[in-house]
Assembly symmetry: C2
């Protein structure tokens, strides 16, 4: 399985919107089955997954030596790394720790297999030029990043302005802070725009769709699975918003190139 793929996008620049092809990084969901039990599902690049499973178990303290591993098999069709250890009594992980930048979500791809996946039905449209302007405003607000280079930021905006801006060492934390602010302040998120400084993978799309957010915008890149979920769940995903240009990866009908 390759690590990259080509996807059709609409690129907006000085000359308006233009259909082209973009190279996007692949995202794969690998479930580590440890001694017969599903331990964790990790979103990863589909390469060297035997090393990933081994390193994960090592980092979690579940194995110590190569000799602890009785067998290790990657089943790409099932999306599984099946690991058996020599002794089944190796210690279990004591608790879940989410590190900075630590993505996690109750949403997995299983949500997509539900009878009726929750599609974002917002009819809101945005001008491409507005997207560029809002991203400039967003970038200028990141004071901590200017000082340290060490944080990500997220914000929620309506069609006029940014309503709330947040920074965190974790890109998912920054988004959770934004949604937390909305809930605690009675701000509805449908028809709103989510801005993020970070890369966009599947769980961000699921998170946005759960909150009925029709737009997710980043200065960085998406993954192919993020794009796929954006298309399925009706979220307009816009990446590489820089210098008046941008790539629309899904639900492009919500973007207009009028001035």
């Amino acid at each position: 399985m390759g690590k990259i793929t080509k996807l059709p996008i609409v690129h907006y620049g000085a000359a308006g919107g233009e259909e082209m092809e973009d190279t996007v990084t692949k995202e794969f969901q690998l479930t580590i089955v440890f001694n017969g039990k599903e331990l964790v599902t990790v979103a990863c690049s589909p390469a060297e997954m035997d090393y990933l499973a081994t390193g994960f178990l090592l980092s979690e303290g579940l194995i110590t030596f190569k000799e602890d591993i009785r067998s290790l098999a990657i089943d790409e069709s099932k999306g599984q790394a099946v690991v058996e250890t020599v002794t089944a009594s190796l210690k279990q992980p004591r608790n879940l720790f989410l590190a900075a930048g630590g993505a996690r979500s109750g949403s997995t791809l299983n949500d997509l297999a539900d009878e009726s996946p929750k599609v974002v039905r917002s009819q809101r449209m945005l001008k491409a030029v507005w997207v560029s302007e809002m991203m400039e405003d967003f970038k200028q607000r990141s004071e901590v990043f200017k000082d340290t280079g060490g944080v990500h930021s997220a914000a929620i905006a309506d069609e006029e302005k940014i309503l709330f801006f947040s920074e965190d060492v974790g890109r998912h934390n920054a988004i959770d802070k934004v949604f937390g602010w909305c809930l605690l302040n009675g701000v509805s998120t449908c028809d709103k725009v989510l801005l993020t400084s970070g890369r966009i993978s599947s769980e961000m799309l699921l998170k946005a769709a759960k909150r009925d957010v029709p737009f997710i915008i980043t200065k960085a890149a998406p993954t192919d699975l993020g794009v796929e979920i954006g298309a399925k769940l009706g979220v307009t995903l816009i990446g590489f918003v820089r210098d008046g240009k941008m790539n629309v990866y899904s639900q492009n009908w919500r973007i207009t190139s009028e001035a």
Copy 2:
């Protein structure tokens, strides 16, 4: 609690090493206690932690409305967000999902409170100029990033060359792949150098220390907690390795400015 702090560093440039002060982003460990039970520990920036806890519970599907929350209190001294809901029977998270970029570790700060934290005892030293050269080599290897901008990379090197290089949509996955490769190929990690394209927070230092890696090097920024753990656990942490310059945040004695 502020979101940034000042730390003493040694900056290496054309004129050799120079002691100065650097502004570093703060990292805080917040445990969400949900209806009396420790749900998760999240490494975050110490601000708007009420929004973070709310957004986390929202994203996990554990609450739906503001009215679901009976009480929400942040206790900075204990590092806790204590949340009580109106009905205790709200659904529990079904399983742990780790998203792209999803950091997680069996190591928490509790490890530091152990009787004898594991200190990296390597006596290996490196020339600053070597660090710059190795980072250049490292950056040039990232083919997928060049194509897509969507992945992080990690590598393990000895004092001569990069031994194994890996890329992944998750920066922690890339590091796990590196350590997995080492274990499966019988490559000892003591005296080695870990390179990463991403920001360095506490759990990366703990992960490196567990594998006896004395050097962790990034082109990006560290957090203050990462620096603190590097100092305590004997790991030399080098950040902002760019254009022949770098900042050494901990255990500077391992770096020499000789040519």
